[in-house]
């Protein structure tokens, strides 16, 4: 099985419209790709058979999309869309239940003075804060806001597999709707692709919940550590073949986090993956996205690379914390014509 073969095959079989990666039908679709992941050698052949990435061209395309000028009604639409796509995040050693509760309240009503502001997509915390967040959201009228938990020895991913699985199960048991796992970058960079693949599969299984829906799995690559764009494309396909519901750029804990070119490349990967398998996967850039201007650039990339199908919180997220306040200030500016300032948004 090669990438080209998979694409051609996809053209031949009549595939009903795409299915979500977290749905029941996705497993059967992925099973059709089983021979690509049958052995380490097969997986290597598949990943290295993916089309290469020209760094200069990729960066140039991302930069050009960054020059789109989004004004007035389009800006208002983009701001609300961006707010609804935020995984409002706090991942500090110093996190307290109080801070998590405050974040949850903010996630449900981002602007206390304006109830027309949409709620965020999720609150993202460490596993030990999942129960607190879940509780705060339920009590605060935010039942629709999801709780995402990082797991698998976040952010370094340096622990034995049983520890990572226990970490995941713990978060799921506490009520996490989504799990943000990190891949083993050491294994990936040394070419042990099947090991990474098996680990993602195992974590996906650990996301199952007895008597309830499984937690959705986001797979973090830490693209700042993968070094090359070719690696990012390979990691994307590897994770999607292993059953990732979302692919995510970064932990936010290293020097280089989400960048427009890396995110564009991952958008291209989910587009091609759906064309080849019929399975739709989401994308989450995280880390370093702080301004409305930045967020809109990302939405423009989604719009012009993937289109409407991905322009909802089901398929695109921002991993961010300070971004929300800037979006709120820009929203107030559009409404009133004046900049309000940081005193008119809540500090976290």
């Amino acid at each position: 099985m090669t990438y080209r073969y998979a694409r051609r095959y996809a053209h031949l079989v009549t595939m009903p419209s795409s299915v979500p990666a977290y749905g029941a039908e996705a497993a059967a679709r992925l099973a059709s790709m089983a021979d690509a992941t049958a052995s380490d050698a097969a997986l290597r052949r598949f990943l290295h058979g993916l089309p290469g990435v020209d760094a200069v061209g990729l960066q140039a395309r991302a930069a050009t999309l960054g020059t789109r000028s989004i004004k007035t009604t389009a800006k208002a639409y983009a701001i609300d869309l961006a707010i609804s796509m935020i995984d409002l995040t706090t991942l500090e050693g110093a996190d307290t239940p109080g801070k998590v509760r405050a974040l949850c309240a903010k996630g449900v009503h981002p602007d206390p003075t304006d109830r027309s502001v949409p709620e965020v997509a999720a609150i993202c915390v460490y596993p030990d804060m999942v129960a607190t967040a879940k509780d705060a959201l339920l009590q605060g009228g935010g039942a629709e806001v999801r709780v995402a938990s990082v797991a698998t020895a976040f952010p370094a991913g340096r622990a034995a597999l049983p520890v990572k699985l226990a970490d995941t199960r713990d978060a799921v048991a506490a009520g996490a709707d989504e799990i943000d796992m990190v891949i083993d970058r050491g294994a990936f960079l040394s070419g042990r692709y099947l090991e990474v693949f098996d680990e993602i599969r195992a974590v996906k299984e650990a996301c199952a919940r007895e008597g309830g829906p499984a937690a959705h799995l986001k797979v973090i690559f830490e693209t700042g550590e993968l070094q090359t764009y070719d690696n990012v494309r390979r990691a994307s396909w590897l994770a999607m073949l292993a059953g990732a519901d979302f692919i995510k750029t970064s932990t936010g804990k290293v020097a280089v986090n989400a960048t427009p070119p890396v995110t564009l490349l991952m958008l291209e990967a989910v587009r091609d993956f759906r064309a080849a398998t019929g399975v739709q996967v989401g994308v989450k850039p995280a880390g370093g996205i702080r301004t409305t201007k930045d967020a809109i650039k990302y939405l423009v990339m989604v719009n012009e690379t993937l289109g409407e199908d991905w322009l909802t919180a089901d398929w695109f997220r921002f991993g961010a914390s300070s971004l929300l306040n800037d979006l709120l200030m820009q929203r107030q500016k559009l409404d009133t014509g004046r900049y309000s300032g940081p005193d008119y948004v809540t500090v976290d």
Binding site: R4, R7, R8, H11, P51, G52, V53, D54, V56, G57, L58, A60, R61, T67, R68, S69, I70, K71, T72, T73, A74, K75, Y77, A78, L81, E268, L299, V300, N303, E304, E308, L311
Partner: protein, 476 residues
């Protein structure tokens, strides 16, 4: 609800276009002898932007005389002094770049994103680059103390009005020549604004003269016995006529003419970037680019994949108001050019190629042509041989590298080519076989003042840009 971009027009208020413009001769604007004028339109709306003087033979004569008069003093200036003027011009262009970009988009029809991000930065860069050479000509490789030629008669096209002016004027002045420049009939305004910049920079009178008019004015200029050098960028047909005019005189000649470049995509190419390169190659500036990658040669094994991706990408191109900051493809420059594009596209269909264009709504006023691609094109089709100079891409296929080279070279032109492959050795092998003046690999339409540009065969001769570009303006 879909993400629709609201209109984001660049303000027209930044540019003040006068109702009429005269000729710029000997540092002064003045009417044409006989008072003849012509109108210049905005091709996106057919609105008349201004009335421009139409130079007569007498006016061309005055302009050449003014340039001759200024030559002695200008060429005697130390290079460092000439450089000061050029640096000053470059800085003024940068300072006024927003105004000039809007003007260029209005008069030419190109999208503001391109005039702002491509044309104007390159214009300034060209003046900066050649300003740097002015006092270093001894070290350019043309012997000690190389001399200028004298008066240069320069005729430029309408596709990059200000950039082509920069390519002509900057090296000419750096080397100590004086110039008479004729901008294209449909895009005279930015050259006239440039005349104003020369005054603003305090350039001595007569060093730069701008005569506006149609083809007859250009013919008067190149035939004028008082000029020492002819530089022309434009169609091969006119280039040949100029070569005939100049033959038998001691005028130096450089020609930068048409092209029918092949963009060659191998099966191991970075597909997403290749698609971007193909789109940029043919749809940049509405395809009004002499080095446009108007023939796509794609390896059979990736034909389907590449064409799917290309069509998907073409469907996202935004065609419309050139002043909207989100426009990718603007207006065709003139009714005449639009008719030519239509005629050639129709011939493609008539000869059996398959035509495809994304659904796109074109404005009712002005001159527009949707981005179009033809598949099933053979070497024998007119759309594979003739320069369309519009947003029309002809797709051909090949199986082996040898076949790609043979097809790419099978054209009377030889201006540029593109190679898309991740295999470095193949890039080098292909580059050594392709008969084209510029070969891009894994990119397309990249310009830099330090890089020489010019063609083989019917694409012309002489090089512009870089150290090589000095030779055309030095007596060596």
């Amino acid at each position: 609800m879909a993400f629709e971009y609201a209109p984001a027009p660049e303000s027209r208020a930044v540019v003040d276009i006068a109702p009429s413009y005269g000729l710029f001769i000997d540092g002064e604007f003045g009417e044409a002898t006989g008072g003849k004028v012509f109108k210049t339109l905005s091709p996106s709306s057919e609105e008349v932007l201004s009335e421009v003087a139409h130079a007569s033979a007498e006016d061309v004569d005055r302009a050449v005389a003014a340039a001759r008069g200024a030559f002695g003093t200008w060429s005697a200036l130390p290079g460092a002094e000439r450089a000061k003027y050029l640096f000053r011009i470059a800085r003024i262009i940068q300072e006024r770049s927003r105004e000039l970009a809007v003007l260029e988009s209005l008069d030419n029809g190109k999208p503001i994103r391109e005039s702002r991000d491509a044309d104007l930065p390159l214009v300034a860069a060209h003046f900066f680059y050649y300003a740097g050479w002015a006092d270093k000509l001894d070290h350019a490789g043309y012997g000690p103390d190389p001399k200028p030629l004298g008066v240069a008669g320069q005729v430029i096209p309408w596709n990059f009005p200000l950039l082509m002016l920069a390519w002509k004027i900057a090296p000419a002045l750096a080397c100590g020549n004086t110039v008479v420049l004729k901008p294209a009939e449909t895009t005279p305004l930015s050259a006239l604004f440039f005349a104003g910049i020369c005054r603003q920079a305090g350039l001595p009178r007569g060093v730069v003269n701008i005569v506006t008019g149609d083809g007859s004015t250009g013919a008067e200029l190149v035939a004028h016995p008082g000029i020492d050098k002819v530089a022309f960028t434009g169609s091969t047909e006119v280039g040949k006529a100029i070569a005939r005019t100049v033959a038998g005189t001691d005028k130096r000649l450089t020609l930068e003419l048409g092209g029918k470049a092949a963009n060659i995509v191998f099966d191991d190419a970075p597909i997403d970037q290749a698609v971007e390169g193909v789109v940029n190659g043919i749809f940049f500036n509405q395809g009004h680019v002499c080095c446009a990658g108007s023939r796509l040669l794609v390896q059979e094994s990736v034909q389907e994949e590449l064409l799917d991706a290309l069509k998907r990408r073409m469907a996202t191109l935004r065609v419309g108001d050139p002043l909207d900051k989100n426009t990718d493809i603007g207006a065709i420059n003139s009714a005449e050019q639009l008719a030519r594009i239509k005629e050639l596209a129709d011939s493609g269909e008539a000869e059996g190629a398959e035509r495809w264009a994304p659904a796109c709504e074109l404005p009712s006023a002005g001159y527009w042509f949707a981005p179009t691609l033809f598949t099933g094109v053979t070497q024998a089709h007119r759309i594979a041989r003739e320069e369309i100079f519009g947003p029309v891409l002809s797709v051909l296929t090949f199986r082996t590298p040898e076949e790609a080279v043979a097809k790419a070279n099978n054209t009377p032109y030889g201006l540029s080519a593109g190679i898309w492959t991740e295999k470095g050795s193949r890039i080098l092998w292909m580059a050594s076989k392709l008969r084209a003046g510029v070969i891009w690999s894994n990119t397309f339409n990249k310009f830099d003042p330090a890089s020489p540009f010019g063609g083989y065969k019917e694409s012309g001769f002489g090089r512009e840009g870089g150290r090589h570009g000095l030779e055309a303006y030095l007596n060596v």
